[in-house]
């Protein structure tokens, strides 16, 4: 199908750029690209909830931060095997997600947003109170974790590891949203009432996707801790939760790739503008407002349309009731 070909080509180009460009441009850009990949992963986890499940969460930064703290603490304690600390970080964030989700998902809409925000704040204050771990200032990691025999101290090596993980997460998330589970989640998003009427109890499915997304955010957090060799409560702030939402919407929700592009845009915007002024937020705020009020689509959506890679499904060619009559007439028990 040409459709798949075009979109696949687009993705291939993006991947090729991601592989080749940053190391070519030097250490600064390699580190920058690593940051994009990490935030992209966190934003993707938000998209799983927002775009695919219809769950607007203002607390994903908490799970990101939990992953960072878990990985950081383990590393400080001497566990520097990434194959041990990173899965543990994922596990811890999934447990937090389970606890937060179990309570939050009993609410809907506005309440859900506020409750996720509130619980995230709770985790934030908790982190701030950890005197032994630097309190509000956070703590540094003596070194990055290492992967078997590969030291991750080198920025380029680390970048490629992160990139591989990002690609794996994208592939995994893609499978999940296309699976039977994914269908249920999307059905619940489209019409929860209908999903229940057909026989799917919404709560368990929402909880599972919430936990999965939490795990992905936790992995991103663990990577962030290793990237910066520094962890602080700022990684859990509600501003970051909001920024993750912004990345998703800027890049195109409901697309998995969009959030990564959104992260790239956000970080690039910040990087470029901070060269001119420390008050770059003065421009980002209105930009976000403008995107919401004036622009219909995000970066990925625009990219897809611009290259003609969008699907043209959905054009009905037959008229009701002609088809209906025909169908009814063809049934064995139908009266003529």
């Amino acid at each position: 199908m040409t459709l798949f070909g075009r979109r696949g080509a687009l993705l291939f180009v993006l991947l090729a750029v991601a592989i080749a460009l940053p190391p070519y441009c030097g250490t600064y850009y390699t580190r920058f690209a690593t940051q994009i990949a990490i935030y992209g992963m966190a934003a993707l986890s938000v998209d799983l909830l927002l775009g695919y499940s219809g769950l607007i969460t203002f607390g994903q930064a908490a799970l990101f931060g939990v992953g960072a703290y878990a990985a950081g603490m383990l590393t400080v304690y001497g566990l520097t095997d990434a194959l041990l600390t990173w899965p543990l970080a994922i596990l811890v964030s999934m447990l937090f997600a389970l606890a937060i989700g179990a309570l939050s998902l009993r609410t809907r809409g506005f309440q859900f947003i506020m409750v996720t925000l509130a619980f995230a704040q709770m985790v934030y204050y908790f982190a701030q109170s950890l005197r032994n771990w630097g309190g509000d200032d956070g703590f540094t990691l003596p070194q990055r974790d290492s992967l078997k025999f590969i030291s991750l101290a080198d920025h380029t090596t680390f970048y490629y590891v992160v990139l591989v993980l990002l690609v794996l997460v994208v592939l995994l998330a893609n499978r999940i949203v296309k699976s039977e589970f994914g269908m249920v989640i999307r059905g619940i998003r489209d019409n929860e009432r209908r999903a229940a009427a057909v026989g799917f109890p919404p709560y368990p499915y929402k909880l599972v996707i919430f936990v999965i997304a939490g795990g992905i955010a936790g992995l991103a957090g663990a990577l962030m801790a290793n990237h910066a060799k520094f962890v602080s409560p700022a990684t859990m702030s509600w501003q970051l939760s909001g920024e993750l939402l912004a990345m998703v919407i800027l890049g195109s929700a409901n697309s998995l790739i969009g959030p990564i592009l959104g992260a790239a845009f956000f970080l690039a915007f910040r990087d470029v503008l901070s060269d001119f002024t420390e008050h770059w937020m003065l421009f980002f705020g209105p930009l976000l407002v403008a995107r919401v009020l004036l622009v219909k689509d995000g970066i990925w959506g625009m990219l897809v349309r611009a290259t003609g890679a969008d699907d043209k499904l959905g054009e009905p060619k037959v008229d009701f009731p002609e088809a209906l009559e025909r169908a009814a007439d063809s049934k064995p028990g139908a009266a003529k």
Binding site: L50, I56, F58, L103, R106, T107, G109, F110, Q111, I113, M114, V115, L117, A118, F119, Q121, M122, Y125, F126, Q128, S129, L130, R131, N132, W238, Q239, G242, L245, A246, I249, H279, M281, L282, F284, G285, P286, L287, L288, V289, R291, V292, L293
Partner: protein, 299 residues
């Protein structure tokens, strides 16, 4: 822990609770009637404090500065409503959350540009300094008593407005059926602008009154906003009564827990528990009732 200290903390809790009420009632009115989530509400609290500070610096008189600060906040609210809020009425919660979040980012940065990042202390008006013995042996600041009284008066006026006036009836009607109110020839745009301005003024009032107690700084409104949201969750969306009960609960619970918990539990985890107490309260209420204590809306 003496009785006098306990009573003093109780008073503080009520006062804090009433400030939260002023914030929460604005949030719940705007959401209950206009179905808009406004995360920029905290910015209006913050701007209240900043405008007071700026007006004071300019006029050197509290008598002039306070009204000026109100006017400033009202102007900002009206412009906000027309430019940003109005298009959001028809949109979903995500758009509303993101747009108002963008506003918060903007305002937090804007005050930094104009007044810098450092917290700016505000002094209590000279005629309100000093304390009074409400219980023998315990001197309670007059200023806190005064702002408590102001908040109570504001609450009563709000109640009268909603329950007893034509405008209040319109507000209550508007929450039930937009189309009918519009069809009656009443300018719904104007009504919504008024409601929004009202909620903004309440937030600014809280900001103005808390200014001397908290000092004015970028992002000052954010923790208050979050607590106000907790209040709305506990009290139930759309319910003014719920906002009052919830606010008092949160205010008293938060204040008392900060004092009592360190007395009972003396470990390193104390400060964590203290900050988390309110959220635990919220979790318990949620377990008890999914929509809060007094939810006004069936939906």
């Amino acid at each position: 822990m003496t009785l006098a200290l306990l009573v003093e903390q109780l008073f503080n809790g009520v006062q804090f609770g009433l400030m939260l009420f002023l914030m929460a009632v604005g949030v719940t009115l705007v959401f209950g009637i206009m179905r808009v989530i406004n995360l920029a509400h905290g910015s209006l609290f913050m701007l209240g404090g900043y405008f007071l500070m700026a007006a004071l610096a300019w006029t050197r008189s509290y008598g002039l500065a306070i009204p000026l600060a109100f006017v400033g906040a009202a102007l900002v609210a009206v412009v906000l409503e027309i430019v940003v809020l109005r298009p959001l009425y028809r949109r979903g919660p995500l758009d509303q959350v993101l747009a108002t979040f963008g506003l918060t980012l903007f305002f937090n940065e804007a005050v930094t540009v104009i007044w810098g990042r450092e917290p700016i202390p505000l002094s209590i008006p000279p005629f309100l300094t000093g304390s009074v013995e409400i219980i023998p042996g315990s001197a309670y600041p007059i200023y806190r008593l005064v702002i408590t009284a102001v908040a109570i008066v504001a609450g009563l006026l709000l109640y009268l407005l909603i329950a007893r006036t034509r405008v209040g009836a319109l507000i209550r009607a508007g929450s039930d059926n937009r189309e009918i109110v519009a069809a009656l020839g009443i300018n719904i745009n104007l009504l919504y602008t008024l409601i929004f301005a009202l909620s903004a003024m309440l937030a600014a009032l809280a900001g103005i009154m808390m200014g001397p107690l908290l000092s004015v700084e970028p992002g000052a409104g954010d923790p208050i906003l979050i607590l106000a949201l907790v209040v709305v969750v506990i009290g139930g969306i759309g319910s003014v009564r719920g906002a009052l009960v919830g606010a008092l609960m949160v205010g008293i619970f938060d204040t008392l827990s900060r004092v009592l918990i360190p007395l009972v539990i003396q470990t390193n985890a104390t400060s964590a528990l203290v900050g988390m107490a309110v959220y635990v309260l919220m979790a318990v209420v949620l377990l008890f009732s999914r929509t809060g204590l007094f939810a006004a809306h069936r939906g």
